[in-house]
Symmetry: C2
């Protein structure tokens, strides 16, 4: 039998593997090489970025360059702040809620209403579900706009599609603090199309979007969001830093009233970070530095190119799935399937184990589906070269030939 | 005139500087070299630690080895958990308060008392002051045990010593949730002697200690603390990870009562991290990896050696200060001066600027005192070789000769 890969991947950069991890995940080779080169002596300053005081001029340039580059790449309008934070996506679940509820405009609306405003949650998979649970725990008055879809066969809730907007249970604008959703569900492989949610929501209600796993993979009209939050470790850089892009009017609040801020620990307080250019305390200096290099790498290609490559990579894999639907079973409704995390099953668990093992033999790793879903998940983030997708597709085809 | 350094520091490792930053700060040369070597391909796994899934076996070993090494180095007893967290010291200000107040034993004590327990704060400088302010903001019932000392000349509060224990305003054990202090004040250069606080506090009251800036610089009897918390970026590793060593009985709480946990965002929830071996969500993977290498480096020498070197380095500098008190004015009471952050002034601001500029010419950097204090601050953390302290002392002496 022909092995599923002809060689150990001639396209692979020397001794590396194709890393299809859902995150932390592959970084651009050129970025890693620059990090390595400068590791003991950053641009002649005689020290590593790992050792650098965040109050030094050199580091000041590193973080402000990173911010400026991200602002250019995503065309972030001037009335939005870009914050570098800690605590990952999970930190931002809480931060988004705590900061929005402290916002002057939200508090005024609540006062007018005379009872707690609702926090509208759109649940399309594991991560938005976790976001919902976090704010429930913190005492939010939650309104579930939608929670996946009912399986036609079992009647159970599944996360493989979205119901039509006409069926969404959006609250009345005057009763709603904000609408929250996660644009790409890393576990379930469901990606909401660009502008799909902001088009459905009354423009007076701030939309908070978790873009952790599709950030920088396509252009985004930032002006339509109240805030965009994202952990860096999928498309932007290493773990340990998260980013919030926040409309500045939402940071306006009455600091003189201790009740306003009494539930917000400083590390989750967007205003605290906004007032000190993301450095009220020591930021995750090295992670931000690497993110800055990734932002420059994206800028060098342009965000439109990132989108083109993103769609090309995903199409190659989905084409194989669609060509052999009796063997590769895509788990998500075609309209909403993710270009970042592609999930599918094989005819049985044995074949899935074999697929994963043979892929590993071909230097393709981290293909096991999330424990809650099983099957195969291949993550094709920004830094995955088209050659990686090529190699994977060639492997899929050969595996099909050998095993169908 | 003889320049203040004879050469550009023959002892300096090739093109590096002597980095006396208060944090982030110098890391061991050998650790940086290992990080650099493995940056694109960690031990043959074909990827950088920066890209590694935290759920992979390889990373699982990295984090569990780091924990195990720290446990050995500090002889952490089995009834203590070691947690890797995000949010720095500032995050732990809030986390310590929120988690302690949710602890079963603390809540039972409060119920017995019939009114809010006090949180006892020992304020010896800028960092414990910030810790106090954070919990005040979060609504704590604070009892200030001491707040620096009164200046004999101006009557103002200054942070250069501690009042005698007989003057401390410790609450009654049955009315106190916990006692909090910061063992080494990075800004003010005040270091509380080992066991000084735990000796003064009733053993039934948990003592929470912030050891961010003297961690791993001397042995510590962990068993005497309720919890030890520390940001990594001074003595342990890069910024972006903090550590909590928590007595397990304090993690016992009634999870069925939503009121208990309703103010604790997940990222600050010690139980959430304890229940998932520090990985309920993506941890700051790379920072933890580097910390693990530093822990091994400390273990290779032994914590007793770290203490010997720490004391030796500091003594060299303080000896010069004490030999010329009319020129080098140490700011802290000798009994409490820090071996980590040594603060002093020169006869005037002009000489201080000259000192800093000439030191920079000799490749010695980050010597400017904190903006709240002025003068000179030289930080001599674990990774500062004795040669660095030698070079600094030689510079001090020559500067004195040239300028007194």
């Amino acid at each position: 039998m022909t092995p599923s890969c002809a060689s150990k991947n001639a396209d692979l950069p020397y001794d590396r593997v194709w890393n299809f991890s859902a995150g932390p995940s592959v970084l651009p080779q050129s970025v890693l090489e620059e990090v390595q080169r400068d590791l003991l002596n950053y641009k002649g300053h005689g020290m590593s970025v790992l050792e650098m005081s965040h109050r030094s001029k050199v580091y000041g340039s590193i973080i402000s360059d990173a911010e400026a580059t991200l602002r250019r790449v995503l065309k972030v309008p001037d009335n939005y702040s870009i914050l570098f934070l800690q605590g990952g996506g999970t930190g931002e679940f809480a931060a988004a809620y705590l900061n929005l509820m402290a916002s002057k405009s939200v508090r005024e609306k609540q006062q007018k209403l005379g009872r707690p405003l609702a926090c509208d949650y759109i649940v399309t998979g594991g991560w938005s579900k976790s976001g919902l649970k976090e704010v429930e725990r913190l005492g939010a008055n939650v309104n579930v706009v939608l929670d996946g879809v009912k399986s036609a066969t079992t009647g159970e809730t599944v996360y493989n599609s979205l119901p039509p907007v006409s069926e969404w249970n959006l609250g009345k604008p005057e009763e709603t603090a904000y609408v929250y959703y996660c644009e790409n569900e890393t576990v379930h492989g469901v990606e909401t199309p660009a502008n799909f949610v902001v088009d459905a929501v009354d423009p007076s209600v701030p939309v908070i979007c978790d873009m952790s796993s599709n950030m920088l993979s396509r252009p985004v009209d930032v002006s339509r969001f109240g805030a965009i939050v994202a952990g860096a470790q999928k498309n932007m850089g290493p773990a340990g830093v998260s980013i919030a892009i926040v409309r500045k009017d939402l940071l306006d609040r009455d600091e003189s009233d201790p009740e306003v801020t009494r539930n917000i620990p400083s590390v989750l307080d967007w205003c605290y970070f906004d007032g000190a250019a993301s450095m009220p305390n020591t930021p995750p200096t090295f992670s931000i530095y690497v993110c800055g290099l990734v932002f420059k790498w994206v800028e060098g290609q342009g965000i439109e190119t990132m989108e083109k490559i993103r769609n090309e990579r995903a199409k190659m894999v989905y084409d194989v799935i669609d060509a052999h639907p009796e063997f590769f079973h895509g788990l998500v409704d075609k309209k909403y399937r993710s270009a970042m995390n592609l999930v599918f099953t094989l005819p049985n668990a044995e074949l899935e184990s074999k697929f994963i093992a043979e892929a590993a033999d071909c230097n393709m790793i981290q293909l096991k589906g999330h424990r809650s879903l099983g099957g195969i998940r291949v993550s094709l983030y920004n830094a995955m070269p088209i050659e990686g997708a090529n190699a994977f597709v060639a492997f899929m085809k050969q595996f099909y030939e050998n095993n169908h």
